[in-house]
Symmetry: C2
Subunit: 290 residues, 2 copies
């Protein structure tokens, strides 16, 4: 088997040329980390755009024979699609291809990769903590991942050299690479990412549903910052919510309990209790979120 940690990577395939896949392609080329980048995206318009923007050297809507020479396969498709993409692409892959991904939910994919048909691949899951509410290949930018965290989720199946190679790739790109258990990853990101997205959508809907939907015109900086993420892709976030169903529902319910406590303090005019609840939250925010 060829050394998977060899840089520059001779041929690297990216499936999914959205914000993440496209921005990765830009950096790989800019930093000389891959000599040739093969692009795949089931959306023909994405494919055309990615070629126009010279994000990739080739682009196809379907797996093809070029894949036979790919040393790396990076799955940057919506989490819901990874299983289908793997089934489609598997027949075209060489057995020692290194597979990694950029999905926002890890446990379901880790389970899929344990299946006999996938367990032979050199694989490690990954998740760049970067993004934004814009999407599609035209949203791709240089240095999106610089200074951002990248979470690797190795398990017992992960080979040391696979882990090392993917770690090196994202380190070269400028990310701060950390490792985390896949289940813990999903619980943490249910909290800090999936829950806020869900709430941003619900907040906007609750205001739009009101008797004064024009209220949104009066939003100040607070709501703007708060609701920016409600412009994110509904399809992508629906898939993330469904893939991370249980951890997310736990956080939604914990959140509903917090709302109930605050609501109760407002209903009973309990100023002291209300201040206590808000001050606790402020303390946690000031301690952790910078």
């Amino acid at each position: 088997m060829e050394e998977p940690g060899l840089f520059p990577i001779r041929k690297l395939a990216i499936v999914g040329l959205g914000l993440i896949g496209g921005s990765l392609a830009i950096d790989l080329r800019r930093l000389g980390l891959a000599s040739k980048i093969l692009g795949y995206d089931s959306n023909p318009q994405h494919c055309r755009k990615a070629l126009d923007l010279q994000l990739v050297d080739s682009c196809s809507t379907m797996p093809d024979d070029l894949l036979l020479e790919a040393d790396w396969l990076v799955l940057a498709v919506p989490v819901q699609s990874i299983e289908h993409v793997l089934d489609q692409f598997r027949p075209f892959l060489k057995p020692d291809v290194l597979i990694t991904d950029t999905g926002s939910v890890k446990a379901p994919l880790l389970k899929i990769m344990l299946r006999p048909e996938n367990s032979g691949f050199a694989f490690v899951g990954g998740h760049p903590i970067a993004g934004g509410e814009r999407f599609g290949p035209e949203a791709a930018v240089s240095s999106l991942f610089e200074g951002k965290r990248f979470v690797l989720t190795p398990d017992q199946q992960t080979r040391r050299e696979t882990l090392g190679a993917v770690r090196r790739l994202w380190t070269e790109i400028g990310s701060e690479v950390i490792e985390m258990d896949g289940d813990l990853h999903d619980r943490i990101f249910a909290s800090v990412s999936h829950l806020p997205h869900l709430l941003a959508y619900a907040t906007i809907q609750a205001i739009a549903d009101s008797d004064s939907p024009e209220a949104l015109e009066h939003s100040g900086a607070g709501l703007k910052g708060f609701s920016r993420i409600a412009s994110s892709s509904p399809e992508m976030w629906a898939d993330i919510f469904l893939q991370n169903q249980q951890p997310l529902l736990q956080r939604v319910d914990a959140f509903s309990s917090c709302i109930s406590e605050i609501r109760e303090a407002i209903v009973t005019n309990d100023r002291e209790r209300l201040i206590e609840l808000l001050a606790q939250a402020k303390a946690a925010k000031d301690r952790w979120v910078h």
Copy 2:
């Protein structure tokens, strides 16, 4: 009676030298809109700081005889305190003083101003749509209100010249002044300001309460934008929530319904419905919030 619209204002008193009162003082002086600015703040440290920063020409923790010469009184104290402050300051005010305020909730104050002991004053309520999570006199900055909306809430009692004078003041400061019924104001800001603040606090608490409170360390740009306002003053927001109790509770309950709908779609794995709900919210967001 002296012309209340006379600029520069000879002597203007500001009660409450926090972010709003302090920033107003800076702009009044910078733009030459008031010849003398009398400061009042029940917190001696705020008073000292406001004098150190030369925000005001004098500062006292209590109403004093200087007030007898004040042509304008701007109440920039927490909404809950306005009634108490008015009772304290009333004996020191000349009968034709112009009173206005900067509070985030209007209906309760409008009711207070209709009482016999207050109804003689030239008064109009106001609310600058500006602020931030920092507070206290040291948070005061120049041009905080420039390009921001300022909502005036005149009622049947409001004299035309009072309305004109306060409108002119905030226009000179650079705000876009609009007029709105007080009750409508409170419903709208329950939606676009008070609800998001309440949710930001509850979100942080729900994450901090989880089995992985360190999750907050992993927050990306989404949660940062979403939760910035959870650093705001707990006392100030508790008071706003309590003052705007009914409109806010209505929005909280509408929000809880939206959460339930999304939750149901996740529980039943109804991808189509979930996408529909998120897409509706995204459309409202993209239409209204820029």
